[in-house]
């Protein structure tokens, strides 16, 4: 399996990349890790005329807390996230997800920016970003913009990014006392894309009342999906077993899975129900620690 011919361009700065992209037009694609894009090119599902390699751009690979935000550079690989002490200690939901994403060699190359920019509801990071209410920072021909995650995913492989926009950073509200998150996906075998996955992030106040909650779903809709009805039910409440039960039920009702090789629609709804409940419990447990 061999990709069709294309022209390769290496960008050494964000500016250069944007200039190249503006010049080459719609037939140009950025490549960061290339572990979503190149497989599609090998199968000739994607046949871009130009590839602009952004992986060599300096300064886009970092994980840090800055003000009240956790900031992750777009070129940070999933392996770098896996081994990062800050994430391990304060954002265990990241470890949950990365451990279940692809395999170690893929994670050595695949970037968080690419995982999100790909706009694929089967990828794991989008659900986490929804749950944690990330902002996506992008640079384009007309400057820098910050896109709330709820405005980011537009459709199947479609995002708010213009063709020449580069996703540069992910910003996530900093973990604080009383917050916690968890992610799990059911997969047919290790490394598989999710049959269904659920990311949950909760923030409790001192009395244990839920101040904020985010629930993102993986691969049970055409576009990465937030479980709005479930979140509303929990916000401002003390989260009880009954509420968790109800949210699981809502998740199974509101998700939009299709029957395929991974299972029937009914099975996937049931899986979403179960994982939603389990991840709510796990997130709560972590929030209460």
């Amino acid at each position: 399996m061999i990709p069709a011919n294309f022209n390769y361009h290496k960008a050494t700065s964000v500016k250069e990349a944007i200039a190249l992209s503006s010049e080459l037009g719609e037939e140009a694609k950025y490549m960061s890790g290339g572990h979503s894009l190149l497989p599609m090119m090998k199968l000739r599902f994607a046949t871009p005329e130009h590839i602009i390699d952004i992986s060599k751009i300096e300064g886009l690979s970092y994980i840090k807390e800055d003000g009240d935000m956790l900031k992750i550079g777009a070129l940070t690989t999933q392996t770098e996230m896996e081994h990062n002490t800050l994430l391990k200690e304060s954002y265990p939901i990241m470890g949950d997800a990365i451990w279940l994403t692809a395999d170690p060699s893929v994670r050595n190359v695949g970037t968080i920016g690419g995982n999100i920019a790909h706009g694929d509801a089967a990828n794991d990071q989008p659900a986490l970003m929804l749950a944690m209410r990330a902002n996506i920072v992008a640079e384009g021909a007309d400057g820098t913009k910050t896109i709330p995650i709820d405005e980011f995913f537009h459709g199947f492989y479609m995002t708010a990014l213009e063709p020449s926009d580069i996703l540069t950073e992910i910003q996530i509200p900093k973990a604080k006392k009383g917050s916690g998150g968890a992610y799990h996906k059911v997969e047919r075998k290790v490394g598989d894309y999710a049959t269904a996955g659920v990311a949950v992030h909760v923030e409790l106040d001192d009395s244990g009342v839920c101040q904020q909650v985010g629930i993102g779903l993986t691969n049970v809709s055409a576009v990465p999906m937030r479980l709005e009805r479930g979140e509303e039910l929990l916000r401002g409440q003390e989260i009880t077993d009954e509420l968790i039960e109800q949210v699981g039920q809502i998740a199974s009702e509101d998700c939009e899975p299709e029957s395929d090789l991974r299972g029937s629609e009914a099975y996937k709804r049931s899986v979403v129900n179960t994982i939603t409940k389990r991840m709510l419990n796990k997130a709560l447990e972590r929030a209460r620690q």
Binding site: M1, Y8, K10, L43, S55, P104, V106, N108, V190
Partner: protein, 163 residues
């Protein structure tokens, strides 16, 4: 389509070549450099037969463009240990019968090098997850796990000896 000049270090030797944009690294290594120890077992980045070390990290060479490896340092199975000697992983795969047909073996070993670098003392579970991007159809994995365990012990000993 323009050709691109690339220079990289493969198994300690500097290599310069003119390549097409689309040339996959695995084909560059196998066909242009005639190092056929790195194998191909799938079209979808699932099998790991093509695993090499790129700047010290395990990478599936079938999912990497040669042009992007410009300036990189690459190690393939041929360069893991000096001619006529064994890396502790090679020795362990031999001792523990960690290979049958040998087709997955180079990739499996290169992946394990990276695994042990990040986790010098892995549990059986960590080894199994750690090699989960590499398929073996022959061995049933039991002895591959044992091989990695043996190598981990050996490498720990070696490390101690050098300290």
């Amino acid at each position: 389509m323009a050709k691109h000049e690339v220079t990289m270090t493969i198994n300690g030797q500097s290599v310069t070549a003119e390549v097409d944009s689309r040339l996959l690294l695995v084909h560059f290594i196998r066909e242009n450099l005639d190092m056929t120890g790195t194998h191909i077992g799938c079209d979808t980045s699932n099998c790991g037969a093509c695993t090499i070390l790129l700047d010290g990290k395990s990478v599936k060479a079938c999912t990497y463009l040669t042009v992007r490896a410009d300036g990189a340092e690459i190690t393939t199975i041929e360069g893991l240990a000096p001619e006529g000697t064994n890396h502790p992983l090679q020795q362990a795969f031999h001792d523990q019968h960690g290979l049958h047909c040998g087709f997955c073996t180079p990739g499996m070993i290169m992946r394990s090098v990276d695994l042990l670098k990040n986790n010098p003392n892995p549990t059986e579970e960590e080894i199994r997850w750690g090699i989960s991007g590499n398929l073996c159809r022959c061995t049933g994995y039991n002895n591959i796990v044992k091989s990695v365990q043996q190598a981990a012990k050996e490498m720990a000993k070696e490390k101690e000896a050098t300290v």
